[in-house]
């Protein structure tokens, strides 16, 4: 199958503000893509366009469909968890399951019950009786039980404690993921999902600052702790970012410079996604 999501020149304007500025995206099936950017960078706007929740300019194809004109058909194959709690507080879990069963042709009650069995959520609970973490796991159980090709998660673990965040990621890998399912996830807690992700998209001021597989990232970017006497040599190799760390050392980040060359300067590391993010967001301006 070709791309799950394909965008060409995707643009979204709010009046004079350009929230998403002429971006191209290609997401093949089976990938777990992190869409990462600072607040206001255009992440949620891009997701809204992909889900057919907002108008846009440019070409956009999601599961081979046009989100703005074929939204109903698209929704049969896409699941979405928004960053806001959208489950009604008064509803009981069994009522929620009944409603979803009637609304969504791809929903499997059996699978949902299996997933819920791994959580502390009970059928007679009302949503308002559940902690935020439990509501998120309930939401994920329902969404995972829908036979969807694409799952879109907008800050799914926002406001959860670390135990529930870990639980959420485990459930996501256990229950939702199989080979042809695709996940698009936005998050600020990059360090917790970086090993789950297969691909990174950094978005900055409405534009793509980086689109790469994690594999390529680990072979392309290196950070080096440079001793003071080698700083000018390090600068000549065109680092994308330079920062001063404790003990008078300088840390440099490089894109596409051979690792053996960098080893002459100091200890080389594969940067964490969070550090790479800071480097790419802040680099290019100095």
């Amino acid at each position: 199958m070709s791309s799950i999501i394909s965008a060409r020149g995707l643009t979204k304007r709010y009046g004079r503000t350009i929230a998403v500025d002429n971006i191209d995206i290609d997401i093949p099936p089976g990938r777990i893509v992190g869409l990462i950017g600072p607040n206001g960078a255009g992440k949620t706007t891009a997701l809204k366009a992909i889900l057919g929740l907002a108008t846009y300019d440019g070409e956009l194809s999601v599961l081979g469909k046009n989100p703005s004109t074929q939204r109903a058909a698209l929704m049969e194959e896409v699941c979405f968890i928004a960053d806001v709690a959208v489950l009604p507080r008064w509803i009981r879990v069994h009522q929620l399951i009944e409603v979803t069963e009637k609304l969504h042709p791809g929903f499997s009650r059996e699978r949902c019950m299996k997933y819920l069995g791994k959580t502390k959520v009970r059928l007679d609970h009302k949503v308002k009786q559940l902690s935020k973490g439990m509501v998120t796991l309930l939401h994920l159980a329902i969404v995972s039980a829908i036979d969807a090709k694409l799952l879109v998660l907008d800050e799914p673990t926002l406001g959860l404690d670390i135990i529930h965040r870990k639980d959420f990621h485990t459930r996501l890998l256990d229950d939702y993921l199989d080979e042809d399912r695709t996940i698009l996830i936005t998050t600020h807690q990059v360090e917790e999902v970086e090993h789950i992700l297969t691909d990174l998209i950094f978005i900055k001021d409405g534009r793509i600052a980086l689109e790469s597989t994690m594999e390529d990232v680990q072979e392309r970017f290196f950070s080096v702790e440079v001793e003071p006497d080698k700083i000018s040599e390090a600068r000549r190799l065109a680092p994308i970012y330079e920062t001063r760390v404790r003990g008078g050392q300088h840390q440099f980040m490089y894109d596409g410079v051979d690792r053996d060359t960098l080893r002459n300067l100091g200890d080389t590391h594969i940067p964490r996604v969070a550090d790479l993010f800071v480097a790419i967001m802040n680099g290019g301006e100095s």
């Binding site: 890998l173 090993h195 594999e215 680990q218």
Partner: protein
């Protein structure tokens, strides 16, 4: 339980090295099945593609074989071949630098060998 990955090698490589260590010390016996990609992905909170890539690297090295519909298994002879290559690596890479260190410190090789023999008893 996430493992303590270091930042000097890609994760798939480190996962491969872990599996190699398990074959070497016999935790994973020859003919034994490797845990499924899904199990490893979930246990270590890694994406399945990383786990698959690490398993593929083991296949490429002839240490692990894929049996259709059954999963991955440690090849017959994998441990002895690993031992062989580890021995070669030791003799070619580690031993020469140890020899120069022994010479540098003026240690008596015969005395060192005696210490090894005593430890063996």
């Amino acid at each position: 339980m996430p493992a303590n990955w270091n930042d000097s090698q890609p994760i798939y490589w480190q996962l491969k090295e872990r599996t190699v260590a398990m074959i070497l010390d016999g935790t994973l016996a020859e003919g034994e099945a490797l845990p499924s990609v899904r199990t490893v992905a979930s246990e270590f909170q890694l994406n399945p593609i990383t786990v698959s890539k690490s398993y593929q690297a083991l296949v490429d090295d002839g240490l692990v074989e894929k049996r259709r519909g059954l999963g991955m298994f440690v090849c017959a002879g994998a441990r002895s071949r690993l031992l062989e290559s580890e021995r070669t690596r030791f003799l070619e890479e580690e031993w020469p630098s140890m020899i120069s260190r022994i010479e540098q410190l003026g240690l008596d090789p015969a005395g060192l060998l005696d210490a090894i023999k005593k430890k063996g008893n």
